[in-house]
């Protein structure tokens, strides 16, 4: 496999490093229009080839084009790459609009090419372990999903905090809650500095009485990265700031004997043992690269495909509409989270 990586800013060098160390990769070409970034790659990864012209790179002999540029350039670069017959790996969020995402999916299907959207948390050991617990019905039926990702963060020039941080949590949610139907979304927030929201709360209603909430914030004095998943059997907390016990499963919940009683008396609650499973520490990016290369070889859809990217972009679009209207509900015609 030959890999071309376009965009060598914050995340690009990690992509170069990971593909270089993959056993099936023969060549990695790193591309950026900025000389200083190319120079930095040359020093750190002398095995990588360099390119200053992304058109040449896309037209060249790469099997995969990796797109790690600002989101507003994703569609143009991705479309060119697909049209040049390349599989594409696109950083999150997939595209700036759902229409762009849909067009790319259509082109890829026609040309039998694969799209990988880098929802990197899906390859994270903790999220894999939570998926495993949910599939084994350890939590029972999920009744709510609550996510908090707040920090003193770098403001992005081009996007608000929702487009910067929420793709992580929305992709985790769609992965963990798959096969549910989204009924509506509401987002509230505030832009205190440059007209782009720096704090937002997104609420999602599902058809089966499940509920999700996401808090993203660039102006928090403390760093919190925490997801709570409430099941009707057990409940789980995933705290990504913990060094060791990232996942805690609580054998706690609400209990009642009969439907009548609920209206009569206080619902009882139950507190039991807690369990913290060991989490695999393999780097998510290495597992993502492996998944995409395998999917291409086996001619199958990768775990985080264009459709997954599209689902997240639809939710982001809806959040922007709702934010612009002080939390107005955006209803979906039963959008399936696959």
């Amino acid at each position: 496999m030959k890999i071309g990586v376009i965009g060598l800013g914050y995340w690009g060098p990690n992509l170069v490093r990971n593909f270089l160390s993959h056993k099936d990769v023969k060549k990695v070409i790193a591309c950026d229009i900025r000389e200083n970034r190319l120079q930095a790659i040359k020093e750190k990864f002398p095995a990588a080839e360099l390119s200053k012209n992304y058109n040449n790179l896309i037209e060249g002999d790469s099997d995969i084009i990796v797109i790690a540029t600002p989101v507003d350039t994703h569609h143009t670069l991705a479309k060119k790459s697909l049209e040049a017959g390349k599989h594409i790996w696109v950083e999150k969020p997939f595209t700036s609009t759902s229409a762009e995402a849909e067009e790319l999916i259509e082109i890829a299907e026609k040309k039998s090419l694969k799209i990988f959207v880098d929802h990197t948390f899906i390859y994270n050991g903790a999220v894999r372990k939570i998926k495993e617990l949910i599939e084994k019905k350890e939590l029972g039926n999920i009744i709510y999903f609550d996510s908090e990702r707040i920090n003193l963060g770098l403001f992005q020039r081009d996007v608000n905090v929702v487009w910067d941080l929420a793709p992580h949590d929305l992709s985790i949610m769609t992965y963990l809650c798959e096969h549910r139907k989204v009924k509506a979304l509401a987002a509230n927030g505030i832009a205190n500095f440059n007209g782009k929201e720096n704090l937002a709360h997104i609420c999602i209603y599902f058809e089966d009485n499940c509920f999700a909430h996401f808090h993203v914030n660039w102006v928090s004095p403390v760093k919190i990265r925490r997801i709570i998943i409430g099941g009707d059997k057990k409940m789980l907390v995933y705290d990504d700031m913990e060094n060791f016990e990232k996942i805690k499963v609580y054998d706690s919940g609400v209990e009642f004997n009969s439907a009548e009683k609920i209206h009569e008396a206080l619902v009882q609650y139950r507190i039991g043992d807690m369990f913290s499973p060991k989490v695999n520490q393999t780097e998510a990016l290495a597992l993502g690269a492996q998944e995409f290369i395998s999917a291409i070889k086996e001619n199958r859809t990768p775990l985080t495909s264009g459709k997954d990217g599209l689902a997240v972009v639809r939710l982001l679009e809806a959040a922007d509409i709702s934010l612009a209207n002080m939390g107005k509900i955006v209803e979906f015609d039963s959008m399936l989270v696959e």
Copy 2:
């Protein structure tokens, strides 16, 4: 002073104990229709007198009637008491509707009686210290207020999680952010068990581009009671689950040099020292009792008066309307948070 306490459930005995130990209180009469509750008071607080008839109590010689019954009885008992010429102490939330609250305020004014609403956190050492820091302009201008009060809690028969838990945080917010105008409120949530919401998120927009969010939840495996206040100078975290360092003030924030730059480049952030002030440990209830008795003696409005109770009830009412309509915005005609 003679004090009559009606309602000896969870909170009532604490009220009896506190008034008994106040130096200006000569007599406390504890009243409940349940014999077993009266018996329990008799054993624990032999100095208290007992009564099974609240009408007699209200008509008796008490100076203050303390109302610690379910919220749907507050208005009736409070009105009777005021009409009988008594000052009233009412547990939170003040009333079931804002109309009820307004009527009580009006009667009290006409009869020159005092209303104390037991927003107990306003008398808590940590909240007093935060108020002091805000008044000294330590945080600068407040840009957001974020509150989380989640737990595996007892479901209430008569109210949802908003009416049960949010009065605490709404009263803290109105106290700390006074003199701001509320523009709109949106609330999203879910009722998984008995038709009453067990989880809710309330967002409040202020006229001056400040924003507040409240998360209340009865079905959380972990207990969190945390408020973050973002100022444009410093930021503060109040973690009520900490045994010692309940308040942390962070000399951190967002910085930029000129208005143009914000649109050009990344906004910078700054991380500095952290400071945790000592917090007074005196019981909030004792300070509340002291405040009300002083206010009556000095013929002045107590710190947490009927108007404060009304402001919280208005926000709770709006939250219910919004919840019933999946987060629909409820606009206020510039409600002043006093």
Copy 3:
């Protein structure tokens, strides 16, 4: 049963409250030479009888005399009580010297009376759960016991920090590690203020290559109450400052395949799941009272008897000798921890 409680300082009122609420107790007589303390009991616990003369109390009709006075008075009061034919409950530490403890045990045996030493942590839910885990061989063979109990504490007039705090941890250790033989003890520490040690480290060597360490400190800015128990199968942390997850059992340890390999290469380690069992919240003092009353009725030795008190006093005595000699080893002729 009739109970006489001598000493109404910090702990005495809790003892009065507990015995008053025990179903088999008909009468509790509270005794102290200080009028203000008797007055406080009268107000809080009107059901208790009062006495100002401990000789009368001891000679009276009580079945049990509870001794909650300073440690240097324990022996005198306990001996009088036994000689008057009473069972005795003695607060920790049992006596000031092992000779005193031995004499009391001898008298009690001769007169068929029971001694209960209030090692209260033995009746604590977390310690009971740890005992259960150890007995089920969950941890394997215990290789070390490490305890830390540090705080900004009140200096005691009459004893150093070892006699004040270490009885808790020494009693927990002798309970959890019973049937082991103590080989030697060394204690190092410092007296910075009034000639009594305010900080000490006690190390205990067992015959079977097990090791224990205790850190007690009255001058720590942070409050730590933590025990680590290293087993050759699993390891456990008991953190008494945690509100919820007090016990954590780690499926972690050291592993190697053959004896030769240990000397050749690095020993491997293994990190696995963590488990936090639910802990019973019943008040330890209520369970202690129940245990002593049952033991008297059933004519058996209570769980924390004079012998257990003696074992702890022997270790405390040895610690004092070692402290006075800068950590000099005090060897035991195979003292059995029963």
Copy 4:
């Protein structure tokens, strides 16, 4: 400057990377007898030269020889390097015996060469900040130093846990408590696996009634890296496992009015504010390299010189003697901690 680095195991590659990026370094030659390690350096740091023969390296044109090999080879390699006229950088612990250390110091002095011992924590931002606070007398007079460094760690083939972990904390202590005189040392511990201690407690008595304790442990289920420093004015906790608030300064302590009172009554304690200063995040190794190169240029003794290495080795030697004799006191003829 030309740098030769001998030993490319765990730490060596970090040394190569750091010296390569220092502005005054022209050449770095990496040396190891193992081909695979040389190969790894070649791939990661193509700018480094490689050598398989340390004798050639030592005899070559390097200005500094960096020794990152097992401790039992330090003396031989260091002596050869000094005799070849090179300045030396030696990883901790400096040597296996104090005699070895003394010989190296003597040779270096005669030949006007510099020795740098890599006590890396002395260049750590948190330790620098603590030093600054102590020098500004923020804590008052230090009365105790308590260190805990425990973990599930890799057993070393050649040394016990004391020689592996304690050099970090002993070097921090000698740096922070300089100008004090060590009176005696006692160490207790246990070897459960391969004859080398895997757990140890070291206690140090100073002449001025200051006391230090060190807990090192390779078999702990939890990772703790915490130092408490008790001053008679304020107290400090340095928790290296905290991501953000590594240092906390507590305005807490013991207070009394007059000398007589101490013996009469309970000593009072005082709890006040807490303060967490910002800590510089620059990599310690980069600052260490800078310090050594500057010291050579300026012909001065580096901050962590051979004498500092010797002081730590003396304490380690004493700990081994004490451990071998179950905590027997090892007295010093007033060893000055400089």
